[in-house]
């Protein structure tokens, strides 16, 4: 399961600070919601359900966006490496 690194603090404005590396990032609103859901330990089916309750989005597009987003989180080193499986 996906796990956001424990050193990461996320504020309501979408500002992300990684205390482990000193890097900071900014999230847009949907990005912020998804990261929070991941942090809460939700898996993909749960996340897609939550999101589609609130937003106008079809499953196929969301899946595409979601995996692209997660790949970016990985690229930015925000995902716990050993928590991946």
């Amino acid at each position: 399961m996906l796990k956001i690194k424990s050193t990461i603090a996320i504020s309501d404005s979408g500002f992300v600070f990684d205390a482990g590396t000193g890097d900071s990032f900014s999230l847009n609103n949907t990005g912020l919601e998804i990261v929070r859901l991941i942090k809460e330990g939700k898996d993909f089916p749960e996340i897609i359900q939550k999101v589609s309750e609130k937003y106008e989005v079809d499953e196929e597009s969301f899946e595409r966006y979601y995996y692209d987003f997660v790949a970016t989180l990985n690229q930015l080193n925000l995902i716990e490496k050993d928590g991946e499986d």
Binding site: F25, K54, F69, L73
Partner: protein, 452 residues
């Protein structure tokens, strides 16, 4: 309760420390229509990619340029530079507006004649005029701009042989403070070669010297070079009148005015730096008016500007083929427009916009064309929204040179349409097919069959 619109989730690194290339993120406004016609509907009807030319914009630009010069100078004539865009429909819009034709090859000359331009209103420039071309131009009373001494002597020879009096002008190159110097065309001003050529023409008695011509360069952002060029040509005109009592009919300042495209690597965008027609007109006409040419002998001022006349009117619309992520994490968007049909992307950072409304979020993106070639890059680094497969885009200011320098490479050249002043599309050049290409080829008998 209605649901919210979903925006693609995005995370971006805040660049702490190193200054980024991009200050505040800036939104790229989509362009959905050209002259009131939906780009998407045009792509549906004519296929993707698609060149779209706005007749309205051509006419508006022409009128603007003409006003800038004619409000400052009594006798102004524009001449359409065929090489910039010689699609017949485009040429004819200019001819309807009153422009003559300016051609640089036998092929272009024939095109102008076929379009119905009277021979005496065709300016024949360039170093490549065959003997047959010259004969035809002499018969038609066209204005032949002499590029080198070989041509000058050939014309003297032909004039005697044909018993005609060819109408000529001398092309002059000069130092206008603009680099590189285009000293490969015409006769040099500073070393006296241009004056020698003029003396030779006058001495021949068989050539009718009508004008002087110069063309100082291309994509020129400073108006000062034109002022210097106009002064230098005016000084030659004054010298001619003094020595021979010969009054020139025209001075041709050529073209080279910058369009609003941004040169690759330029700091400021072309929309900020390109001088207006008024700026160019002011520099050129004030130099002529304040020269020592007698007021009642002021020659006609001819302008052959191509790029600044047509760039703005051309659009290239197309579709996204795929998006991917490069090894270093950057975005790549692959589109169906390559450098083979958008030649100018080698020297411009073209303004490319999404057609459909997309997210405000943009990312550092490289935009690639569809060719299997590493050089096929339309934009190296651009803050661009992420489009998905099938989304549309439009590239602005592609009217100059692309529809003459394009190559048939790997794919075929697409349809070109013109939107008339009511926004109605007309197909002005059909897209190529396999047949178009194959019809030019011949396979020898012994190569027709094979077994695999």
């Amino acid at each position: 309760m209605s649901k919210l619109t979903f925006e693609r989730p995005i995370i971006q690194r805040i660049n702490a420390g190193l200054p980024s290339k991009y200050g505040m993120p800036r939104r790229l406004d989509p362009i959905s229509h050209i002259d009131g016609t939906s780009i998407k509907s045009l792509l549906d009807e004519f296929g993707s990619p698609l060149f779209v030319i706005s007749e309205q914009t051509i006419r508006k630009t022409y009128k603007e340029a003409h006003r800038a010069f004619s409000s400052r100078y009594p006798n102004v004539q524009f001449s359409w530079s065929y090489k910039t865009n010689y699609l017949n429909a485009v040429c004819n819009v200019f001819h309807q507006e009153g422009a003559w034709a300016e051609v640089v090859s036998g092929f272009e000359y024939q095109k102008a004649i076929e379009n119905g331009v009277p021979g005496e209103l065709i300016i024949f420039n360039g170093p490549d005029k065959s003997t047959d071309d010259l004969r035809l131009a002499i018969e038609n009373n066209s204005l032949i701009h002499i590029d080198h001494f070989d041509e000058l002597y050939e014309l003297i020879h032909l004039s005697k042989e044909m018993g005609e009096r060819p109408k000529v002008a001398i092309r002059v190159n000069m130092d206008t403070g603009f680099y590189p110097l285009w000293d490969r065309f015409g006769f040099n001003f500073e070393n006296g070669e241009a004056w020698d050529a003029l003396n030779r023409v006058m001495a021949s008695k068989t050539l009718d010297l009508l004008g002087l011509h110069t063309h100082i360069g291309t994509y020129i952002l400073s108006t000062d070079g034109y002022r210097i060029a106009a002064e230098k040509l005016a000084s030659l005109a004054v010298k001619l009148e003094k020595k021979y009592g010969h009054v020139l009919k025209y001075i041709d300042l050529g073209g080279g005015f910058a369009s609003k495209n941004t040169l690759r690597g330029a700091y400021y965008p072309g929309t900020d730096t390109a001088p207006s027609f008024d700026d160019f007109a002011e520099a050129i006409t004030s130099a002529l008016m304040s020269s020592e040419i007698k007021p009642d002998h002021l020659p006609m001022l001819i302008l052959e500007t191509g790029r600044a006349m047509i760039d703005e009117a051309g659009f290239l619309a197309g579709s996204v083929l795929a998006t991917k992520r490069l090894a270093d994490g950057r975005r790549a968007t692959i589109i169906d427009v390559g450098v083979n049909i958008l030649f100018t992307s080698f020297w411009y950072d073209h303004d490319i916009r999404p057609v459909e409304a997309v997210s405000d979020q943009s990312e550092d993106t490289t935009i690639y064309g569809p060719l299997c070639m590493n050089i096929d890059v339309i934009r190296g680094n651009i803050m661009f929204p992420l489009l998905k497969k099938g989304d549309h885009f439009v590239i602005r200011r592609v009217g100059a040179y692309n529809m003459t320098q394009w190559m048939q490479f790997i794919t075929l050249r697409p349809n070109v349409i013109m939107l008339d002043s009511k926004g109605k599309p007309h197909l002005i050049r059909k897209k190529e097919s396999l047949e178009t290409i194959n019809s030019l080829e011949n396979t020898p008998e012994h190569l027709k069959n094979f077994e695999l």
